[in-house]
Symmetry: C2
Subunit: 174 residues, 2 copies
């Protein structure tokens, strides 16, 4: 009688990735703010909806934004030095959907009121918080670019916030 061979133990580097749908279903369980990320400058005015935004360090104050390099917004962000992260609340759910779809850029911006931040990027009137930024560093990861952004201005408004979880918006009170 011979012993059965031990099952091979894979190192982490040898493990296959999960299927895309498994990943997406998992990400639907990771609650997060929804943001309209805007830019303006020599590369043109543009914006897109992103949940992939987070704080990196406060020395100096830095956040990151992930951008799909194949998206219609990508060229403008490549050509500009500034951007603004506008976190949407209950008043701006429809606007977030608009900036996440295929609507032409001019029509997206015409759907709300904006003013210009110091970076030149459009700041959404009535956003929960807006972070006006300069793009300090860019790092490509597959289909996406991670933009590391130093924060040069912050505007906050009291009131309700929204969070995306389970593929729908939920409302929060501070």
């Amino acid at each position: 009688m011979t012993d059965a061979p031990e099952p091979a133990t894979l190192t982490p580097a040898q493990l296959p990735p999960v299927a895309r749908e498994v990943f997406r279903d998992g990400m639907a369980c990771l609650a997060g703010a929804v943001n309209i990320v805007t830019t303006d400058g020599p590369g043109g005015r543009s914006g897109f909806t992103a949940s992939a935004v987070c704080s990196v360090t406060d020395q100096p104050p830095t956040l990151l934004v992930c951008l799909n390099r194949g998206s219609s917004a990508a060229a403008a962000f490549a050509g500009n030095e500034g951007l603004c992260v506008n976190t949407v609340g209950p008043d701006h759910h429809d606007l977030a959907m608009l900036f996440g779809g295929k609507t032409p850029m001019a029509d997206r911006f015409a759907a709300s009121a904006w003013h210009s931040g110091a970076s030149g990027a459009p700041v959404l009137e009535g956003a929960v918080v807006s972070f006006d930024c300069r793009i300090a560093q860019r790092h490509v990861v597959g289909t996406h670019e991670v933009m590391f952004c130093e924060v040069v201005g912050v505007e906050t408004r009291p009131g309700a916030a929204s969070v995306w979880f389970g593929r729908r918006f939920h409302e929060l009170r501070a």
Copy 2:
């Protein structure tokens, strides 16, 4: 009569960053999930609480985690190839606080039940979602390191989730 000089317009790169407190108060308005990020392997078993986790791309399924290079957890993550992002729900608010403080690692892990993911990292029993990962790429940004992680396993549990907003937890239902 002479005209007053035009105010100088600064390019984005010339703009000074905001004060750290302004940045922190702004970030308190950016709602997000709270995660206990764990690892195990040759570098040792370790874990810390992080809100700075987000999706990067689904080709291949990839998320990122920001880690303070000066933290007590950093050495273990530098020495290991795997990690697990465990998103906390209402049952694990105290555990998230424990993993965000100064408690010794052994005492942190003793406070809850875990099993091992394929990567070797501890998976939190009852987490809202757990992403078992291999660390595919590391990128230093100032005080922090961004770990880009390919997802090799996902576990989700139905029920409530929690989100951090306004410096406190809020409960969500799917």
